[in-house]
Structure formats: structure tokens, C-alpha cells
């Protein structure tokens, strides 16, 4: 995983609450195993009814052509578990989301992909959003995970909180599977214990052929 240390660049305001994964990365009409994630990002919101790009949509405005930070309201990323909704952000260069709050699953998916999810308390969020709106992409904002600060035009640096474990994982770009595999012995021990105590959990055997299935519903 790409480590996250500091980034700097355009901070894009999308301040609505409850922006869901169907909005962030909609199911495309033509599905592909390897879609163009840049294209996928806010695919519908970016377009008008006649399929032309909507010049007013924030990500279509020239000052946000190279976005780095997304600024969101409450519960950003609610809805489905699709990780494409994070991959699409990464594809256009966004590595940090600063929100009033993020949906649980979405936040996990961010951490898995080196995207820093920051949740600001209400008062700090309101002040920061005002600065982002005032700057309107004219000057960059910077996020520093070492010092845990957000800085940029319009005021003093803003400190943010993040769980120590998540911070280290992002800073060092730790591979999540690798972290767990360090505990393979514990996993094997759990399996042995459970095989003795609750054997039905450790085996998924089919007892009867399909035909006998009738009438169990």
C-alpha cells in the first residue's frame, strides 16, 4: 500500500450529507471487470441529462482538475460496500477525505487504500469548510499526517485526531493481510480450540443431495 505522509493540493468542497456509494461510483451501464475508475467517479453527477459534462459540477470546474482533498459533510460513503467508490477517488488523485463523519465500511475501505479519512468535530468542520469555500480552489491546502494538521489559506493550522493504529498503518503503508498473518499461530490455535468445543463451526459439510431439499422451505 502507498504510504501516506503529507499531501498538498486542491480541496474540493462537496458538503452535502449522506453522499452514498451509488453516487460516488454508480453501477455503469456497460459493466467491465476493469473499468476506468477516473471516468467512474461521480459519473452521473458530472453529467447533465443530455450526457454532456455539467460545467457547474464541482469536480468539472478547472480549479479542481487535479483534486487532492475531498471535503464532505456527514456520513460520507454510506450505502454499499463497493471499494470502487474509494478506487475512483484514488484514480483522480484524491488521497484524503475531510468530513464531518464517514460511513463505517467506507472508512475501512479508505484505510485499505492509503486514503486518509479525517473526521473533524462540528466546530472545526464548520470553520474549515468556510475556508475551503472562500478559497474556492485558488490556493492549495496541505494535510500532514506526522504533525496531524491541516493547513491552508484563511487561518491557522487545524489539528486533527486519528487512532494511533490507523495513523501508523497509513504512515508506513502497512499491508493489512501481512499484519494479520503475523498471528497465524493464534489463528491455528483458535481453530483447534473451536474444533473441540464447537465442531459445527469448523466444518461446513453438506449432508444430503440436492433432491432431498424439497419441502424444507
Amino acid at each position: 500500500m502507498t504510504p501516506f505522509t503529507t499531501i498538498s493540493g486542491a480541496a474540493v468542497p462537496m458538503l452535502e450529507n449522506d453522499i452514498n456509494t451509488d453516487q460516488i461510483a454508480p453501477v455503469p451501464t456497460k459493466r467491465s471487470l476493469k473499468p476506468d475508475y477516473r471516468e467512474l467517479l461521480f459519473f452521473r453527477a458530472r453529467r447533465r441529462d443530455d450526457d454532456t459534462l455539467d460545467p457547474d459540477f464541482v469536480l468539472n470546474r478547472p480549479q479542481f482538475a487535479e483534486p487532492r482533498i475531498l471535503v464532505a459533510g456527514h456520513n460520507f460513503g454510506c450505502g454499499s460496500s463497493r471499494e470502487a467508490a474509494v478506487w475512483a477517488l484514488v484514480a483522480v488523485g484524491i488521497r484524503c477525505i475531510i468530513a464531518r463523519s464517514l460511513a463505517d465500511l467506507y472508512r475501512e475501505n479508505c484505510l485499505q487504500n492509503g486514503v486518509l479519512p479525517i473526521e473533524l468535530p462540528m466546530e472545526a468542520a464548520v470553520a474549515f469548510e468556510a475556508r475551503v469555500l472562500a478559497s474556492d480552489g485558488a490556493e492549495p491546502f496541505a494535510v500532514d499526517l506526522y504533525s496531524q494538521t491541516i493547513s491552508g489559506p484563511g487561518g491557522a493550522p487545524i489539528p486533527f485526531e486519528i487512532a494511533a493504529a490507523d495513523r501508523i498503518r497509513l504512515l508506513e503503508g502497512l499491508d493489512d493481510i501481512g499484519l494479520t498473518l503475523k498471528h497465524q499461530q493464534d489463528i491455528a490455535a483458535w481453530e483447534t480450540r473451536t474444533r473441540a468445543a464447537s465442531p459445527w463451526l469448523q466444518s461446513a459439510i453438506r449432508w444430503e443431495p440436492a433432491e432431498v431439499q424439497e419441502n424444507v422451505l
Binding site: 471487470l33 456527514h74 460496500s81 490507523d166 501508523i168 493489512d176 493481510i177 499484519l179 503475523k182 444430503e208
Partner: protein, 470 residues
């Protein structure tokens, strides 16, 4: 602090500690996953990454593969009926085969939506942990399992380690008091809860549904109730298992048998929250007098009772803007009634409401009647097993004679991943779980309801109260 000899525990605490392998260096809990069910939309990516990292699947014997999201529903379908789907179906087949995972392929007699198939085959067990790379994994909480929807990287993590690394959620209990009136279902209860606590009210919690209403529910209803847990923002939701659960499960193909069943049963009877156990949040909903519910907006908390009116705009500017946007998309005005609103599309299906009981309830309303002119109505059973059962009861004839389309099992119009979609401006009454903008096709206006109301709307060609004559 003195250590008390007896600490009352919630059911969640019991399941969590039973599955806790250890705590990881970064402070996350490693939780063992007893059953892992994959689907073709997300698993192929994970298979590919696993192979690239030269990692194997730790417990292919506890893993199952399902083709559900992209399969065509057209009778006589093949993997190329929907040309875009073939790449997903083939990659899933190849990946499952390579890793020794039992695949329920498109033509399998037990294929279907994972959240429907896993319970009905008894893959899910009370007190077991369960994961699916799909947010509605929570559905199987209806059997008293602790389930987690997960992302693609998490899915790869589970394949490689048979565990998931999580922060321990807080505990919420939603107590459902009273009893349900005629034609009022688990779907209505779930929509009401979302209306009360909001789409992020469950964020950071595991929810236990309790109370007289949950206890009186059939397993199918409990599965419906738990299905909507993620729409409250919670990853896991469950109902403690009881005699209803055990009776439903006994004899299913993957459920334990003989002495092992007896042993399991004795353990399952201990799976309740202790009296006095502490919950971080308690919500009480009185279901007496609850009427059938319907969504008017574009998130599942924008819900009213069928005889109520679309609410007036909120005073708070943020909520107001959100409501205005939803109303504009839905083509509705504040203060109006949804009763009588013309509709042109009906979908009865999805992991929420496509089990046999749902189809029976809908068929009871439709029997001997005709779908209104200009309405396109589609029923897609939640699994091929459900489809077969419905056909053996003659329900397919009831639907077909009324003018419904009768599809092969899959997710279909729930998310449109298989190409089943509406057209811009369609007003669709749907038994699914998400009414997001564009979910059922660009510009499609979705109203979430239970199967009875969807059936009634198909016949009337407009939104009606299924309790009235229409």
C-alpha cells in the same frame, strides 16, 4: 477496581469474545469468520490480487461462491444473455475453481442471492460469524449469526486468513414492542426504525433486535428486518436465536445432524443477552398501530405511513436542501399524499423481500386479478430453490396470469448490475432496500415498500393501501 464474578453480557459480547483470535499489533481485534460467501461482482478482483501476492485461501472448505449480482433473469438465460456479465461469471468460475471453492453457478439448482441461499441451505448458523463482500451481509443476522459486509480488500484478507480485523463496535438494542396488524410486515418495521434513527443512526454499532415483535416474527421476516440494518449505518444486526430459529434450521443441507445437532442446540440455547447486560444505546419502537410504510424520497429514512402525507420542508437549511433535492428527483411536493399516485413499474425481488413467504403474500393479493394497463411488473425469486418451491405451489401461474414477468433468480433490478433497469421518469414501486438516485436506472423514481403493497400497486396502477379494497 474489584472484579465481579459475574459480568452480564450482551449476545454481541458473547459472539465477539467467542470469535476473538487475538488483538493485532495495531490494536484491532482479529475476528474469526466461520462462513464466507463470495459473489462475482467483487471476488474476481480479490482472487487476482491474491494470486499476484502468491497467497492461497486458508479455508476454502468454509468458503462458498455465488453468482448473483450480474446474472440475467430472462427465462432460459445463459452466461452471455447479458453480454457484459460473462466476464464476471467466468472470472468467478475460474477463481473459485483454482482455489477449490464450491461454486453455485448460474445453472446450479440452488443458485441465488447469497443472503437468501446461505440461510436456506443452513450455511449460516446461530452464533456463527459470517462475511460477504456486500453490505447486506447483515441479512443473515435473522438466524442469530453475527455478519459483516466487507470491502474487496477485506474480502481478500478473509480469504488469506479466515479472519477480519475490526474495531469492536458498540452495542445497540432496538426493542420492538406491541404486535403487528394485518398486512403490516417486517419491512414496515425496518423502514420505521430507519425513519426514527436515520441513515447514520447505527454508525459504529452492532444492533440486536429484541422485543415481542421480533420474537413473534418468522425467520423469513427476521431476515428482512436484519437486511435493512446497513441502511441505518450499522454493519451487523441480529435477532437472538430461539425455538423458531432451531425449528427452521433443522434438516437443512449444511446444518449439523445427529449428536452434533444436539450439542449445537444446547449451545445455541445460551445465545441470549443476559438480563442486566449493558447496551451503549437503547431504542424502543412501539409497533402497535404501525401502518404499512413507503419511502417518498431518495434515502431509506425518508419514509411515511401510507395514509400520511409527504412532510413539509424542514426549517433546518441543510435538511431542507436535502429534502428539496429528493422531492425534485421524485417529482413530488411537500404535504401531498402518495395514495393514488400513478406508477408504471413494479419490482418484487432482492435479498430483502424475495423469499417464499414474500412471494406467497404478494400472490395472495394478485390471485385472479390483472396488472393495470401500462404497468411493467417483474417478480424475481431470491433463489432458484425459492423459484422451484413457488412453482410447485403454482405461484408462478398466479403471477404470469396476472401479467407479471417471472424471472430466474438473481439481484436483478435491485441495483441493476445485470442490466435490468427502468427508464428515466419511471415510477417504480419496489421491494428492495435502496431508493438512491439512479439505483434502478437513471432517473428512475423508486418507492421502497413491502411485497403486499408492491403487489397491490401493480394491480391498481397507482399507489394504494393494501389494507383497503382497490
Amino acid at each position: 477496581m474489584s472484579v465481579s464474578p459475574y459480568q452480564p453480557q450482551t449476545l454481541f459480547d458473547k459472539l465477539w469474545s467467542a470469535h476473538l483470535v487475538t488483538q493485532r499489533l495495531d490494536g484491532r481485534d482479529i475476528i474469526y469468520i466461520d462462513r464466507h460467501v463470495l459473489h462475482e461482482l467483487h471476488a474476481p478482483h480479490a482472487f487476482e490480487k491474491l494470486q499476484a501476492a502468491s497467497r492461497g485461501v486458508r479455508r476454502s472448505d468454509l468458503t462458498f461462491s455465488m453468482q448473483d449480482h450480474t446474472v440475467a433473469t430472462k427465462p432460459g438465460r445463459t452466461e452471455t444473455t447479458n453480454p457484459d456479465s460473462a466476464q464476471f461469471l467466468r472470472a468467478m468460475r475460474a477463481g473459485s475453481y483454482r482455489n477449490g471453492i464450491r461454486l453455485f453457478d448460474i445453472d446450479d439448482a440452488e443458485q441465488g442471492i447469497s443472503h437468501v441461499v446461505a440461510p436456506e441451505l443452513g450455511m449460516v448458523l446461530p452464533g456463527a460469524t459470517h462475511a460477504v463482500p456486500d453490505s447486506h451481509a447483515c441479512t443473515v443476522g435473522g438466524l442469530g449469526a453475527l455478519a459483516f459486509g466487507c470491502g474487496t480488500t477485506e474480502l481478500e484478507h478473509i480469504l488469506a486468513t479466515q479472519t477480519i480485523a475490526l474495531k469492536r463496535p458498540k452495542r445497540m438494542r432496538v426493542r420492538l414492542d406491541g404486535s403487528l396488524g394485518p398486512f403490516v410486515t417486517a419491512k414496515d418495521v425496518a423502514l420505521r426504525i430507519i425513519a426514527e434513527i436515520g441513515v447514520s443512526g447505527g454508525r459504529g454499532y452492532a444492533i440486536e433486535y429484541a422485543g415481542a415483535v421480533a420474537r413473534a416474527m418468522s425467520i423469513e421476516s427476521r431476515l428482512t428486518l436484519c437486511n435493512l440494518t446497513i441502511e441505518m449505518g450499522a454493519r451487523s444486526g441480529f435477532v437472538a436465536p430461539d425455538d423458531t430459529t432451531f425449528a427452521w434450521l433443522e434438516g437443512r443441507p449444511y446444518a449439523p445432524r445427529g449428536p452434533e445437532w444436539d450439542r449445537a442446540l444446547a449451545h445455541w440455547r445460551t445465545l441470549t443477552s443476559d438480563d442486566e447486560a449493558f447496551f451503549d444505546r437503547e431504542v424502543v419502537i412501539n409497533c402497535a398501530g404501525l401502518e404499512p410504510q413507503i419511502t417518498w424520497g431518495t434515502d431509506p429514512s425518508q419514509v411515511i405511513g401510507i395514509t400520511q402525507r409527504v412532510p413539509d420542508l424542514a426549517a433546518d437549511p441543510e435538511t431542507k436542501a436535502k429534502m428539496e433535492r429528493a422531492l425534485a428527483y421524485m417529482g413530488l411536493e411537500p404535504g401531498t399524499s402518495l395514495l393514488g399516485l400513478p406508477v408504471n413499474r413494479i419490482f418484487i425481488g432482492s435479498c430483502t423481500n424475495a423469499r417464499i413467504t414474500d412471494l406467497r403474500a404478494a400472490a395472495d393479493i394478485i390471485r385472479g386479478r390483472q396488472v393495470a394497463a401500462g404497468v411493467q411488473a417483474l417478480v424475481v425469486p431470491g433463489s432458484t430453490t425459492v423459484k422451484r418451491q413457488a412453482e410447485s405451489e403454482g405461484l408462478d401461474r398466479v403471477f404470469l396470469d396476472a401479467g407479471f414477468l417471472w424471472g430466474e433468480s438473481g439481484c436483478s433490478m435491485c441495483a441493476g448490475s445485470n442490466g435490468d433497469r427502468g427508464l428515466p421518469g419511471d415510477r417504480c414501486v419496489s421491494t428492495t432496500n435502496r431508493n438512491f438516485e439512479g439505483r434502478q436506472g437513471r432517473g428512475v423514481r423508486t418507492h421502497l415498500v413491502g411485497p403486499e403493497m408492491a403487489a397491490a400497486a401493480a394491480i391498481a396502477g397507482r399507489i394504494v393501501d393494501q389494507r383497503s379494497s382497490f
